[in-house]
Assembly symmetry: C2
Homo-oligomer: 168 residues x 2
């Protein structure tokens, strides 16, 4: 098993010529596919926790998670953070409000906007859910050294920035 090589230090090797540009495609070696299928599997596994144990969907979970560390968010802001379209956010909010996990208060400056807050009930649920999510993540990454973990996040950050550049 190839080890976490130190890799020719910090940069200057440009295009990763890891493979020549053939007219065949090995999806197993194609980063977008690999990433997508890994992320999918992780999402599905994790959604067993919040889906089965807590009865919430991915969208709802994302809304709650954002509210857990920033109160006073609006639907729009949540949409921006989570990159979910506004219809999806709206529906998640309706469902969470129906289950009294969150509450909405209308802004007095702008009648169109509603601030979202966790209710006590919502906080209690998150108090159980979040440690379980962290524990699951910890199990997932136990086989990584902390260096590998850090490098992974780092590399993902680079890809995100490059993506923004390509999109921009």
């Amino acid at each position: 098993m190839p080890s976490h090589s130190p890799s020719d230090p910090d940069a200057s090797l440009q295009a990763p010529d890891h493979r020549d540009e053939s007219h065949e495609l090995d999806l197993g070696q194609f980063l977008p596919y690999r990433l997508n299928s890994l992320a999918d599997r992780i999402s599905q596994a994790l959604s067993r926790i919040y889906g089965e144990r807590f009865g919430i969907t991915i969208a709802e979970w994302r809304v709650l998670a954002w509210l857990s560390h920033r109160e006073e968010l609006t639907a729009k802001q949540i949409g921006e953070h989570t990159r979910m379209d506004k219809a999806k956010v709206s529906r998640a909010i309706q469902s969470l409000e129906g289950r009294t996990l969150i509450r909405r208060t209308q802004s007095s400056q702008d009648q169109r906007v509603h601030y979202l807050h966790l209710t006590r009930e919502g906080e209690e649920m998150l108090g159980e859910l979040i440690p379980q999510a962290h524990a699951w993540e910890a199990e997932l990454v136990t086989t990584l050294s902390s260096g590998e973990y850090r490098d992974l996040l780092n590399t993902m950050g680079k890809l995100e920035r490059q993506l923004a550049r390509l999109e921009g």
Copy 2:
């Protein structure tokens, strides 16, 4: 911006105690979320190539890609490789067959199974599409050194194996 640190060498640091187990959740630091949103963005960007330029869906693209380097696949095998459920595979195949990008031949040993093949037309499309997909991927990863790229795939492999272990 933290650089690609060499990280305490090869291993033995067990649980990445990168963060304590709090009752708040910063989605931006939560690996499943980060991975998922990165993969999503990449998928969407890439699907602009095969969607807009070639008029095929992700599912169709996956079927074609697998056929590009292994002829004689059945619907079931494609489902296993791509982790798509059989209904989705079936629909992708119907659509591709309708556009004469693939052809199906019934197995003589087992009347239930159909082998899938690319048609000349399908091969021609892939001959254009695959280099564009590779080129796009190359642009995405240009900011990574080849070491970082290798480490990324490596780490993803570890996560995949750990996931398989957790799933039992």
